[in-house]
Symmetry: C2
Subunit: 107 residues, 2 copies
DNA sequence: ATGCAATATCGCAATATTACGATTTTATTA
DNA sequence: TAATAAAATCGTAATATTGCGATATTGCAT
């Protein structure tokens, strides 16, 4: 077939996988890293920094945003992206929960 | 084009993305969770537990193994999988490093 | 209203992922 | 050595992802 069977897994497992999928492309990791640096970034600047085209960069930004990690606002004529710290921390906790539980059980 | 441009990113960024890619499928998250539970599992049992076919399960196991997270050994006639705790902790640290640095910088 | 600069969306081609049935390989046991 | 059971691999079809050029949209300034 070729379609991921989400329905056979728990919601928590799917959440972890979704979050990981968002981080599974190096461009998106770089983008998050860069936004963390400057806090309030233009798509154009990010695009130049990571050396991908504006459309590609914009698409990656949407993927990160859809995962709930980004906030954006217009200042002047440009859109400024920044990281939603609360969501970022929640994401970290979700991962750490998974890592810790697995660690505690194994061996 | 359609090929991920790994070469434009740092090695660390690619490592994070690779690790995330390994976790980006819910079947693999479930498998890790299950192996953590029983510590020493048969492919067959995992396959039944997560309700995917034996070949599919085996392929996912290879992906997790290629990421360095699994150990395996033959006991009797079957192969027993378990989590490489050292690598698992390293993976967690890699993620936490990324999360923490981003957190520290932003805002 | 018109022009401008920034961002988002569309359409597409190349490639990657996912899942499974069929088959082969592997390691033990009779 | 032959039979076995378990796991890996092959082949394939369906779908998803990635990246970019072209185009549309958006919000401000004149």
């Amino acid at each position: 077939m070729g379609v991921t069977k989400r329905h056979i897994h728990s919601m928590r497992v799917n959440q972890i996988a979704d979050l990981a999928k968002m981080l599974s492309n190096p461009a998106r990791v770089s983008i998050i890293e860069y936004i963390g640096d400057c806090d309030g970034c233009l798509c154009q600047d990010i695009s130049e920094k990571i050396r991908l085209s504006q459309p590609t960069t914009s698409q990656h930004l949407q993927v990160i945003k859809r995962a709930g990690i980004l906030k954006s606002q217009f200042r002047g004529k440009a859109q400024y992206y920044s990281i939603d710290l609360r969501k970022w921390e929640q994401a970290q906790e979700l991962f750490n929960g998974f890592f810790d539980v697995t660690k505690a059980k194994c061996c």
